[in-house]
């Protein structure tokens, strides 16, 4: 129930600097630059690579990475007794009721929600395909390797895994072997990186909230950097095995200034899965 006390707690939470920053980001239309107030510093320029493409990295004076916010979701889980969707979610995100689930997929999604996502493969130190990578705790880096014509995604809070996107113009394979991240090819549409991916296995969740999929999944992701401190992420899910038609969702990801990669191996001492029992009543 959206009680007064719950709203009060949200208000308290909003005083946290990170939450305030996130709220400001989310209120901006995609691609918008906030107008600087008199006396405020000008917005940081968006860095660019030698070939003119947008850089998704920091600079020598402004290191950091992108830290995927955990409360974001591809579908807004809005009901009569729920609060507003996460403010970092894209304004175009569908409500859960409008996601074109096939019945079994909706049932599985609801089951994952009802059990507090206790079975999330990510927490079993499995690689996070699809949008799930963009929730990665402790941030992720995007390495744009011009000579190799590749873009690498390095999620820090992971089982030391990475994802590669080929930028050399190759076509998607016809029948790739199923894998965690699939086979990805990318291209630029203006300042937006567009990635098409096929060949996923069924061993991960597309997003932290538990969006299901099948091996028929094909995704198109659109990634842009409308502000220095903001990454906009959107994914279109085309999976006739789980949905009756393609649908899209995404969220904004704040720049986490000062975050640097560090040695993290999820498998090191992962005691949690056995204790993640979910609701007991």
């Amino acid at each position: 129930m959206a009680s007064r006390s719950v709203r009060k707690r949200c208000a308290v939470a909003a005083v946290a600097a990170a939450a305030v920053a996130a709220a400001v980001l989310s209120l901006l239309p995609a691609g918008a630059q906030p107008a600087a107030e008199p006396g405020e510093p000008a917005a940081k320029p968006i860095p660019r690579n030698a070939d003119g493409t947008v850089s998704f990295a920091g600079t020598k004076d402004d290191v950091g990475n992108w830290e995927g916010p955990p409360g974001t979701s591809l579908a807004n889980n809005v009901s009569a007794d729920a609060l507003a969707p996460n403010r970092l979610n894209l304004p175009t995100n569908l409500s859960v009721a409008d996601v074109p689930f096939q019945p079994w997929a909706r049932e599985l999604y609801d089951q994952r929600q009802a059990t507090f996502t206790k079975d999330d493969p990510h927490t079993r130190c499995k690689p996070s395909g699809g949008a799930r990578l963009f929730h990665t705790p402790y941030g992720f880096e995007i390495l744009q390797l011009a000579d190799a014509q590749e873009i690498m995604f390095l999620p820090v809070g992971s089982p030391h895994s990475w994802r590669v996107v080929h930028m050399d113009g190759r076509a998607l394979p016809e029948n790739p072997a199923p894998s965690w991240y699939g086979m990805s090819v990318g291209r630029w549409e203006g300042d937006t990186l567009v990635i098409d991916t096929v060949g996923f296995n069924e061993r991960f969740w597309i997003s932290r909230e538990g969006v299901p999929h099948t091996a028929q999944l094909r995704t198109t992701e659109r990634i842009s950097r409308p502000r220095f401190e903001q990454l906009r992420y959107e994914i279109t899910i085309d999976d006739p095995g789980a949905y009756t038609k393609p649908w899209s969702g995404g969220w904004n990801i704040p720049w986490s200034a000062g975050n640097e990669p560090f040695d993290y191996l999820c498998q090191d001492n992962n005691l949690d899965p056995a204790r993640m029992v979910g609701p007991q009543e």
Binding site: A13, G71, N77, R275
Partner: protein
Amino acid sequence: MSRTALIVGTLGSTLMVSAQAHHSFRAQYDAEKPIEVTGYVTKIDWMNPHVYFYIDVVNAQGKTESWAFEMGPPHMLEQRGWKRNSMAIGDELEVSGTRARDGSLSANARTVKLRATGQILGAASSEGQTITQGTTQGAGSGSPPAR
């Protein structure tokens, strides 16, 4: 020195913690079960994905119990000033946290106080949630539910 299990109850102060974690907080911990205990450190696993430490606590019946407490990942604790040697085997601690749902003697540590110095450090690995008087709420959002 006495080793005493303290009363489980609502925290007297408002604590705010915002941090990431690799797993669902509420899948593992019950926000309606805050706990405060005092005990002596027996083991420290300064490892990813989360630091665990273990303390011996004497319960109300005089029996010694071994409790496991989870904290954030090492690098996050270090950013908050917690070092690998901030506690040592044998140190006496006052710990407040949130009990595990599975009924085991484990909890998520919210604050840890070193009794010898009175130093208090936050420790929770509550993945972006604000913890307020023993309850959790997703920071800045209500949907999907805090987890």
